[in-house]
């Protein structure tokens, strides 16, 4: 009905489709422009609302968030609206619209067509990473919910964009009461009126992740779904256990994707449990958004395309979608090589497993990460895998291609030389930037290593290449 709004600079903005909606208002795209408008619901005096909003936006403008995918507020709306204009990216739609199941849909076909497990894990990893970056700068997002997070419309992309910047708060600022979306707001916000915190963000993120990954809300079991609205309100106030509670099965669910643990790494399964059981009443027990980001990227790394269907499976595990048993998978294990300053030469020489020692000095410590490589699809190892500490975890270092048999090609796409070392330590091959090399994997010898350094004695990260069969598991 009302198709335009005006901003305080007198510009008239024609509104296009609704993008999102938070607890306090709607977000619409502005027609033919890289802008969006958020209008707040009016309750009470306009002047009062507008004054508070302006104050909040001024605080947001001072926050150090320029490099993050968060919409920056630009200008306030003029009367009679209360709201503001913000930046938008092209081709973004609310997560709710694209990644939560629509009405009467063939669930599996829809899930796979919207990017499947891999894209969902990647989108969530980016979201967790963005929240973690805000948190590391002392800023809390406030209301992570499926209506506030935009995702790339093309399903082969996985960018995110957060559109509720007026709720951003400095963690130490306790002046505002919490705004949250029912079903996502952390228990301490819903029932105790606590202030928003990095840990309430982490709770809402966990609900969102569960809903997105399994097409099932973690607190809406079968009885809640069938019951009256009041029961759902009780579930949204966490007066019932979560659907996969380790002891209390009273809110069990047959909704969404079954066998949820098959779609997760053990770490992620543990994170959901920690958040929705102990972390329900004890926020400090929740994994942080940074923990989630790390674990989600690790899960993305361990995932490969099933050769029998269009789903994804974890290396060395059966396909949860079609049940196909795993064939031979190429798995890269990531190690930290500790330099001679960390461990003494004597201890290195006494090592029970000499194969784990580079040269004569230093130890290889498993970094707990694992990368599975699809045959015929080059995988890009980035700073996240190859650098001990990195400013940009997504900077490419090397690509690994596997022919599905015994041949692996490594290309150095980074800016520093890397070193390929044969399992017996006899062959060292230096790869300058831009060069590539092929290695042969043999089952009877220790695996080749790719060292992200040109000095094998310095502390560095390295990866080993193993082909694992169905009989063995990842480690």
């Amino acid at each position: 009905m009302e198709a335009t709004v005006r901003d305080v600079r007198g510009r008239t903005l024609p509104l296009a489709e609704r993008l999102g909606h938070g607890a306090e208002g709607h977000v619409n795209r502005v027609r033919d422009s890289p802008l969006a408008v958020k209008r707040l619901f009016l309750r009470g005096s306009r002047a009062h609302h507008a004054g508070l909003l302006e104050e909040r936006l001024r605080a947001v403008a001072r926050m150090p968030i320029e490099d993050l995918p968060v919409a920056r507020p630009l200008v306030m709306l003029a009367e009679p609206d209360v709201g503001f204009v913000m930046e938008l990216l092209d081709d973004m739609v609310p997560l709710e619209q694209q990644m939560l199941p629509p009405y009467e849909v063939e669930l599996v076909a829809w899930y796979l067509a919207t990017g499947g497990l891999r894209r969902r894990l990647r989108v969530l990893a980016r979201l967790a990473g963005t929240l973690a970056a805000l948190h590391s700068r002392g800023v809390v997002y406030g209301d992570p919910s499926p209506g506030n997070v935009l995702v790339s419309e093309p399903t082969d992309q996985d960018q995110i964009w957060l559109v509720d910047p007026d709720n951003l708060a400095v963690e130490s600022d306790g002046s505002r009461s919490a705004v949250y979306t029912p079903g996502y707001g952390a228990p301490e916000l819903v029932s105790r009126g606590s202030r928003i915190s990095t840990l309430s963000d982490a709770f809402a993120f966990a609900v969102l992740a569960h809903h997105t990954l399994f097409a099932a809300h973690p607190f809406v079991g079968d009885e809640v779904d069938d019951g009256p609205v009041e029961l759902e309100e009780a579930a949204h106030a966490y007066r019932m256990p979560w659907i996969d509670h380790s002891e209390d099965r009273s809110n069990a669910s047959t909704l969404g994707l079954p066998g949820r643990q098959r779609l997760l790494t053990r770490t992620l399964t543990g994170y959901f449990r920690a958040t929705f059981e102990e972390g329900l009443r004890a926020p400090a027990r929740r994994p942080s958004c940074a923990d989630w980001a790390t674990a989600l990227w690790q899960a993305v790394d361990a995932l490969i395309s099933c050769r029998s269907c269009s789903g994804h499976r974890f290396a060395a595990r059966a396909c949860p979608w079609c049940g196909a048993t795993p064939g031979s998978d190429l798995v890269c294990r990531v190690w930290l090589h500790a330099g001679p300053d960390v461990f003494s030469l004597a201890r290195a020489e006494e090592a029970p497993d000499p194969g784990r020692v580079v040269g004569a000095r230093g130890w290889n410590i498993p970094a707990g990460e694992l990368v599975a490589i699809d045959s015929g699809r080059p995988f890009e190892l980035t700073a996240r895998h190859g650098e001990i500490r990195s400013d940009d975890p997504h900077r490419p270092l090397s690509t690994v291609s596997w022919d599905g048999g015994s041949r692996v090609r490594v290309a150095n796409v980074g800016v520093r030389a890397v070193l390929l070392v044969s399992g017996d330590g006899q062959v060292h091959r230096r790869l300058p930037p831009g060069r590539d090399a092929e290695i042969e994997l043999r089952p009877d010898v220790p695996p080749w290593r790719l060292c992200f350094t040109s000095d094998p004695l310095s502390p560095h990260r390295q990866v080993t290449f193993d082909v694992v069969g169905p009989a063995r598991t990842g480690r």
Binding site: V229, T254, Q261, F314, C322, G323, G368
Partner: protein, 237 residues
């Protein structure tokens, strides 16, 4: 770091997902019931034509609302002649095709209220998990049957009482009594009865209703009926 295959607590876990045809939660129904005047007088000035087109447009807009929280279901009761008929059984909006109302006879509002009370109380029509219904009464004149008792029954019923009730009086024939009937139905001093003296205001009214209802279905708390915006209303009263 690779997780377990499954646990005993999830017996279905061993089945491949593709062979079990999983389903997601169905959105809760958000029922909208229209009580539509199809009396003979609605034929004048093509009031009935405008009403038909407005309702059809509203239902099309409802069908386009995609929200995991709620799904709008629509139904319509037509009152004309000596009786009220179920013109459109409660149906999910995306599957509705509006059949035009044909005007004839008198204005039996009491019969329409009686049928509405019965309909809303039926769990097969409005299941227990549904959100609070919205009921819209559209009329162009005073009732021709005994309406008081049925009105009381409707307003005393659980779902009639809890419903968001909206009424519009169409045309020049809304006298004091007709207005009184509509006000009794709304029974909320903060929610005035709409007047569409000019036929052209009928679509305006339905666009307003569309906005209210779609706002609810996207709202984070659909059962909290949003406050009325007096500015929006000024044009319509």
């Amino acid at each position: 770091m690779i997780g377990e295959e499954s646990t005993p607590s999830e017996p279905q876990a061993a089945e491949p997902i593709m062979s079990v045809r999983p389903r997601s939660a169905t959105p809760r129904p958000l029922p909208v019931l229209v009580l539509a005047d199809a009396s003979g007088s609605m034929a004048e000035d093509d009031k009935i034509g405008v009403l038909n087109r407005s309702i059809a447009a509203m239902f099309r807009d409802f069908a386009a609302q995609d929200s995991p929280r709620g799904l709008i279901h629509v139904g319509a009761i037509a009152f004309a002649g000596e009786e009220a008929r179920l013109h459109l059984p409660m149906t999910p909006a995306p599957s509705v095709a509006w059949r035009d109302l044909q005007p004839f006879g008198r204005t039996p509002i009491g019969a329409a209220l009686s049928l509405a009370t019965e309909l809303l109380a039926d769990d097969r029509v409005v299941p227990g998990r549904a959100f609070t219904p919205t009921v819209i009464l559209v009329s162009d004149g005073r009732p021709t049957d005994e309406w008081q008792r049925e009105m009381e029954r409707f307003l005393d019923s659980k779902r009639g009482r809890g419903a968001l009730r909206i009424a519009v009086g169409i045309g020049q024939d809304i006298d004091e009594e007709a207005q009184h009937v509509l006000e009794t139905f709304v029974a909320n001093p903060a929610m005035p009865v709409f007047r569409a003296q000019d036929v052209n205001r009928i679509p305006q009214f339905f666009r307003w209703v569309t906005m209210r209802v779609t706002e609810r279905v996207h709202s984070v708390k659909p059962d909290t009926i949003p406050p009325l915006d007096p500015q929006e209303l000024q044009d319509l009263i």
